[in-house]
Each structure stands twice: as C-alpha cells, then as structure tokens.
C-alpha cells in the first residue's frame, strides 16, 4: 500500500513538474518570438483598440522617359486620402538642379521631407564644390537617403530623371528603401501597372544582355515622347481612381527646363 501511495505521489509530482515545464516552455517560446513594434504595446499589455498608422497613401502616378538628348518627367496633380480627393492641384515633381528632376508618389508627408532633405544636401554640395550635382550623383544620393531610413522607410516611390554627364537622357527608378536602377523609361505609383505595359510596348529595346550592346534611350523625338506621356496618363486616369485632375510634364534638355500642364478627367 505504501508503494501505491508512493506511486500516486510520484505521478502527482511528475504531473506538476510536467505542467511547470510546459509553462516554462510556453514562456520561452513567447520570449523567442520577435517583439512586435506596436505603438500601443510597450508595457501596457495587448492593444485595446485600433491605433493610428504613421503612413497614408496619397496616391498619384509618376512617369519618366529618357531620350538621346532630353528627358521627360511627368506626374499627375491629384492628392487623395482613402476615397476622398484632398486637392486637384498638387505638384509631385521637384526640380533639383538644371539637369535633374525628381517625381515621387506615395505618402506626401514623407515625400515632402525627402525632397527637402535632398534639396538641403544639394545646396550644401553646391557650396562645397562650386557646381551642381550631376544626375547620376543625385541618383546615388537618393538611394543612400532612402536606405538610411531602411527601418522606418520613406513611403515614397520615386522616379528620377535628367541628363547624364554626356548630356544623354537618363532615368532612375526606385523602390521605397533605395533599390535603384538606370533605365530608359519608368513608371511608379498607383497607375504604374496600367502605364508600364504601354511604355514597354512602345519603347522596349533589346535586353542589356544581348551583344552588341544596344542603346537604352528611346528613339522617339522629344515631342513624340511628350505625346506618349500625355496618352498614358489619359489612359491611366480612366481606370485608376487615384490618377487624374491634371498632369504636370517637365522636359529637361540642353536648352534647360520646360514645364507643361495638361488637364485630366476630374472623376
């Protein structure tokens, strides 16, 4: 009988131990999971209700096309939030220098901060070097600036366009954290998926892997490129609710910078 009691006691103790071990395991598992960076968490426990988001998407589309001796950079002028239009007349294009313009879509507060940041850096460069930054140099600077905030990104989708050191048109396309590539043409933003296939159809040249190397710049003239841009925006405005109201077109060439504006559908 003593044996039986001993057995019962042992099994009880074993169960207790097992239970304790399991709890410890669970706690260990919980600690091993990465802490979620939630604005409401800290030490006050799980979040009780909907919190605010530091990001918003204010919509819009940006396009750029590089030519043999020009570059066309364009962006629509609509600024939205959710299903509302905030304003029909907001410029997304920032002319950084005589040879370089930046078009950005996404979260407008971040775009503003990013453009101011680049402007400040460019002004410093001009003071220190006595000349403006080249477009390829600005391209690298933009990439670095974006990656600097890799762990709290600028929610900005950028297209940088201008003239390279040889005076040829160049376009650089970015993601939100600074990954970039020089291309012959690019589209970013809410209408990107509507516009890019059209540009591919009209402008795509042979793969860069094909030898002999083919020119990436489009064979179109400046006027033809501007017309193409107008057409693509008019098309995107039909189906993308965040694109519309108007399109601002900036052309950079040896003569300098010219700006145009075309109305788009307001609906």
């Amino acid at each position: 009988m003593h044996e039986n009691i001993a057995n019962i006691e042992n099994s009880k103790r074993a169960k207790k131990k097992e239970h304790a071990n399991q709890s410890r395991e669970n706690r260990n598992m919980a600690m091993m999971m990465p802490p979620r960076l939630n604005p409401t968490d800290s030490a006050s426990g799980p979040k009780q209700h909907q919190t605010w988001s530091p990001y918003d998407n204010n919509g819009g589309t940006c396009v750029a096309i590089a030519g043999a001796d020009y570059c066309v950079i364009a962006a629509d002028t609509r600024m939205s939030t959710g299903f509302s239009i905030l304003t029909r007349d907001h410029s997304k294009i920032f002319v950084i220098s005589e040879t370089c313009a930046l078009a950005s879509s996404g979260f407008q507060a971040d775009i503003s901060a990013l453009q101011k940041n680049l402007d400040a850096r460019h002004q410093t460069y001009q003071h220190q070097h006595g000349k403006q930054m080249s477009c390829p140099a600005m391209a690298q600077l933009l990439s670095n600036t974006l990656y600097y905030k890799r762990f709290f990104p600028y929610y900005a989708f950028n297209v940088l366009g201008g003239l390279d050191d040889q005076g040829k048109g160049c376009v650089y396309s970015y993601d939100a954290v600074g990954s970039y590539e020089r291309v012959g043409y690019a589209a970013q933003g809410s209408g990107m998926q509507l516009i890019m296939p059209v540009l591919d159809n009209q402008l795509k040249s042979a793969s860069p892997l094909v030898l002999p190397k083919r020119e990436t710049a489009t064979p179109l003239t400046e006027a033809e490129a501007v017309d193409l841009v107008k057409d693509t925006f008019a098309s995107a405005a039909e189906r993308d609710i965040y694109t519309g109201d108007g399109v601002e077109i900036v052309t950079i060439n040896a003569r300098g910078i010219q700006k145009q504006y075309m109305e788009l559908k307001k609906d």
């Binding site: 960076l37 604005p39 409401t40 968490d41 800290s42 030490a43 006050s44 209700h49 919190t51 605010w52 988001s53 530091p54 990001y55 918003d56 204010n58 600024m79 939030t81 509302s84 239009i85 905030l86 304003t87 029909r88 007349d89 907001h90 979260f107 407008q108 507060a109 503003s112 901060a113 709290f152």
Partner: protein
C-alpha cells in the same frame, strides 16, 4: 551590455522613448476631447474659416463653447479639429514663434505660408516619434495681398487649395464647395456658402452642434465672429419616413 540604460523619467523627446521606457506608455494612443470639421474658403477680399464650438468626449457632446479658431500674429488664423488639448499645445508653440518673430523687430513678419510650414514640420516630427498631436489644422491668412489657405494633418500630410475642410467636412462640405465655389466671391456669398456646408454638417455629423463661428481674414485684419446659431429646417419630406421606398427596409 554597453551604452545608456533606459530609466524611468527618461526624456520623453528621446527617439527611443516608446521602445525602451519601462512602465505605461507615455505617448498619444487615442484622442479624448475632440473638435469636428473646420471649413475654409478663399474669397475676393481674403479668407473665411468656420467651425462649430463643440468639444466631444467620445459620443457625448461634452463642451459646447470651445473656440477652435485662433489668431496667430497679424496675418494668420488657425482652426483645429481633433484633440483640443493638443491644439492648446500647438497654440503654445505658435505663441512662442510669433513672440520670437515680434522680438526681431525688423519690419518683417511671418506669413501664413511660413506658419503652415512650421506647423507641418512639428506635426511630421511628432509623427516620426510615434507621438502625434492628434489634430488636423486649417491655416488661413492674407499677407501682401496674397491669400493663403492650407491644411496639415496629424501625420504631416499638407496641402493648400482654394477651399479646404477637415474630418467630415472632406466628405460633406468639399463636394458643395466644388460645385458652388468660384473666384472672387463676395463676403456675403462666402458666408452663405460656409453656412450651407455647416448646416449640412449639423444635419449629418453627430459630433457637430448648431453653434458656429466664422472668421474673416483680410488685408485689413482678422475678425472672428461671436458664436451664433444656424437656421435649420426639420420639415423636409425626406426626413419623415426616410426609408420609405428603400429596398429591404420597412
């Protein structure tokens, strides 16, 4: 572990405050006493900005005499929706800014555009620290003949336009403005348009009350009206049996 250890009472402005500070969260999570829409339009002689005088505590209309329109220097007026205490904090910042500007005594004053930019940087900065001022601000003014009207939201989104609104006003008032606003409206036309929008908001926004103020900013100066009541009509046929004819209702 090298480096600074977090301690209770660590500067709340520190960029890591929300991740390292032990104890309860010490930054904004949700608003308590809030103001609803602010409306603004440009007209021939300047800018008109309007708002009601309600301060809601969740679903209760707790305070009915909250002044949500405040002057800012000689040329500018700020209207706020959202958390009232945060607006009071913003007014404190603006007060210091204007005082500093005045102390320069150099014949130059900050323009409405400058103040808008300053407020945008504050709102964006606070958003970056995950501790926002829970407001949408409407800034309007006239300086050197130039009429200015702009908005900043709690996360730093900012823009200017001929007519603006915050909160519910974006959904109910802006469409009316888009339909009826035009360049060079007279003062009477402008007030009529704002009152129309304010009335619609009173009918349809549960946080709105029938006690409003309208501010008029011109080159001559700023005038904020005393609070007054809007005329309302509850006899519309559509208000009786509103679901008559609607499919699936009774």
């Amino acid at each position: 572990m090298t480096g600074k250890q977090p301690y209770v009472g660590q500067a709340l402005d520190s960029p890591h405050a929300f991740t390292l500070a032990p104890g309860p969260t010490k930054h904004t999570q949700y608003p308590y006493v809030t103001g609803t829409s602010v409306l603004g339009i440009k007209y021939k002689d300047g800018v008109l900005i309007a708002a009601d005088t309600a301060g809601s505590y969740g679903s209760t209309v707790r305070y009915k005499s909250v002044e949500r329109l405040k002057t800012c220097g000689k040329h500018c007026l700020i209207g706020a929706s959202g958390e009232i205490s945060d607006f009071q904090q913003i007014l404190s910042y603006v007060d210091k800014l204007i005082l500093n500007d005045y102390m320069w005594d150099d014949g130059n004053n900050l323009s409405p555009r400058d103040i808008h930019n300053y407020l945008t940087r504050i709102m964006y900065n606070k958003r970056n620290s995950f501790d926002p001022l829970w407001n949408t601000l409407v800034i309007g003014g006239v300086k050197n003949g130039e009429k200015y009207l702009g908005v900043v939201t709690m996360i730093g989104v900012h823009y200017e336009d001929n007519h603006v609104a915050s909160g519910f006003g974006n959904h109910l008032a802006r469409p009316i403005f888009r339909d009826e606003w035009h360049e060079n409206m007279t003062l009477e036309e402008g007030i009529q348009l704002l009152e129309k929008a304010l009335t619609v908001l009173f009918y349809r926004d549960r946080s709105a009350i029938n006690k409003v103020q309208v501010a008029n900013i011109t080159a001559e100066g700023i005038n904020i009206s005393e609070p007054y009541a809007l005329k309302t009509n509850w006899d519309y046929k559509a208000f009786k049996n509103p679901t008559a004819g609607a499919v699936g209702s009774w």
